[in-house]
């Protein structure tokens, strides 16, 4: 029997908590939202790519009022330009701007909006990216640049905002879980020469296994965890 898929993760980790899932333009936010609801959270999804800090503040404020708070914010951000695989040498300046700067600024604004929501009472934030960012991929230089910057921003924000009771962590998921379009990319094979990767024989499913870890990161059980990276790809990439 394959362990984990569809199983009950146990006690509701987020009973009474409010969560916001902000993954503009990425289809997997719905699955994560359903998984967090399974853990007892009141969840509101927002599909806004903020063009300013004020945009993010407004969107998150509206969502927090609807959910009753913003105890946990889950975010992933990458514009369609960032998800398109192509060699760097053929990338136009406009494509580069859209892929890295617009995506990054939207994530920056989103985090600033989270700060407005959480800096008084604390809270948890989880950024989600494709785990392949840990190892790089040909044809995806803009996306991997972006995601590694987001992952580093999580660390810096965790350092700056920890004194406010804010915890921020990063979760890596299988590339095709992150965006089906990445199936077309030349994703690197893992160096494992034994049984086919990933080690678990499957890429963890979003609504159950990935959401379970995110729910834990949003729970009191993870109150000592911040600035960390969690690779939830079933044991595909095992980084140092």
């Amino acid at each position: 029997m394959v362990q984990g898929v569809g199983q009950d993760a146990g006690a509701a980790l987020l009973a009474g908590r409010c969560a916001i899932v902000a993954m503009p333009g990425l289809a997997f936010g719905g699955a994560l939202a359903r998984g967090l609801r399974r853990h007892g959270a009141r969840v509101v999804e927002i599909d806004v790519t903020p063009g300013s800090c004020a945009d993010a503040e407004k969107a998150l404020g509206h969502a927090a009022r609807e959910a009753g708070g913003a105890d946990l914010v889950v975010h992933a951000g990458a514009t369609p330009a960032a998800l398109a695989a192509r060699p760097l040498e053929s990338l136009s300046g406009e494509e580069w701007q859209s892929a890295v700067h617009r995506s990054m600024l939207a994530s920056l604004y989103l985090l600033q909006g989270v700060y407005r929501q959480q800096h008084e009472a604390g809270g948890a934030t989880v950024l989600v990216g494709p785990s392949v960012a840990l190892v790089g991929a040909a044809g995806l230089v803009p996306l991997i640049t972006l995601v590694e910057a987001q992952r580093t921003l999580v660390k810096s924000a965790a350092r700056q905002w920890g004194r406010h009771g804010m915890r921020l962590n990063w979760v890596g998921v299988g590339a095709q879980r992150f965006a089906p379009a990445l199936a077309e990319a030349a994703l690197p094979p893992t160096p494992e020469l034994g049984p086919p990767p990933p080690a678990l024989g499957r890429v963890p499913e979003l609504q159950a296994e990935v959401a379970d870890v995110i729910a834990w990161l949003g729970s009191d059980g993870a109150r000592g965890v911040t600035g960390a990276s969690f690779n939830l790809d079933g044991g595909d990439w095992m980084v140092p």
């Binding site: 060699p87 991997i144 640049t145 590694e148």
Partner: protein, 267 residues
């Protein structure tokens, strides 16, 4: 701990004979140290900066030591300017083997609260770091392909490895550099080009001035380094770049190499 131990080691003379290097932000600091070290190892060096005049001292020192160098204007945020400078270097020496993207916006040590970062704060630094990477890579690629021993090196930062409360913009950009390097190494590997990043810790001129004025801060900071000192731009960082550019490390690609006296050991 004296710095003599760093200055009496090999210069790597001859390791890069016949090669041509292009170094951005090479008028001062770590970039200047890298340019001097590459020249001492035998490379002919295009010493570039936003204004060519800022590179004259570096070029003069290389010439005084018997090397070959050329000062070129290259604002790395300007694709056309980078292309012109790369082509000028190739026109002068007939080839390009090494590109070192060292330029940065100079904001790395400026504290900034993440909640207050503006688009301007981001774009001012990103234009140099990330757009500079793109422009340098695109301009250099045909020549690095033709080289047969192409090297593309980005100067990262420990901030990009562990994050930094002091300057989250700079650290995010440097973290992004890691992704850039890892991916480009996979993309350019079939062309025989290695792509790596170095995460240096070096006492540049402004750092030395700051430390002279704040000896208590200096002493506390130096205790972070197992080797007991910060690096010297030419001898410590420059020579590491020389090694990466030489045949000695021609099988190293896609790596982020801390050159920091043992500061960061979490990998």
């Amino acid at each position: 701990m004296s710095q003599a131990s760093a200055t009496t080691t090999s210069t790597g003379a001859g390791l890069l004979d016949g090669r041509v290097a292009f170094v951005t932000g090479a008028g001062a600091g770590i970039g200047r140290g890298i340019a001097l070290a590459l020249a001492a190892a035998g490379a002919r060096v295009a010493v570039t900066g936003r204004r060519a005049s800022t590179c004259n001292d570096t070029v003069a020192q290389i010439a005084a030591e018997g090397g070959a160098a050329l000062a070129l204007e290259a604002d790395v945020g300007d694709a056309a300017a980078v292309h012109r400078a790369v082509e000028a270097a190739v026109a002068r020496w007939g080839r390009l083997d090494i590109l070192v993207q060292n330029a940065n916006a100079g904001d790395s040590a400026h504290p900034i609260a993440l909640e207050d970062v503006s688009a301007e704060d981001w774009l001012r630094q990103a234009r140099v770091a990330w757009d500079g990477n793109l422009h340098c890579a695109q301009a250099a690629l045909p020549h690095l392909r033709a080289s047969g021993c192409g090297r593309f090196i980005v100067l990262g930062s420990a901030f990009g490895l562990h994050g930094a409360a002091m300057n989250p913009v700079y650290s995010a950009l440097k973290g992004g550099d890691r992704g850039f390097v890892k991916s480009l190494a996979r993309e350019w590997g079939p062309d025989g080009i290695t792509v790596n990043a170095i995460e240096p810790a070096a006492a540049t001129e402004p750092t030395q001035v700051f430390f002279a004025q704040n000896p208590a801060v200096r002493d506390a900071y130096l205790r972070l380094f197992p080797l007991g000192r910060m690096g010297v731009p030419r001898e410590d960082i420059g020579r590491a770049v020389v090694a990466l550019c030489s045949d000695l490390m021609g099988y190293v690609s896609g790596q982020n190499l801390p050159v920091d006296g043992g500061l960061y050991t979490a990998l």
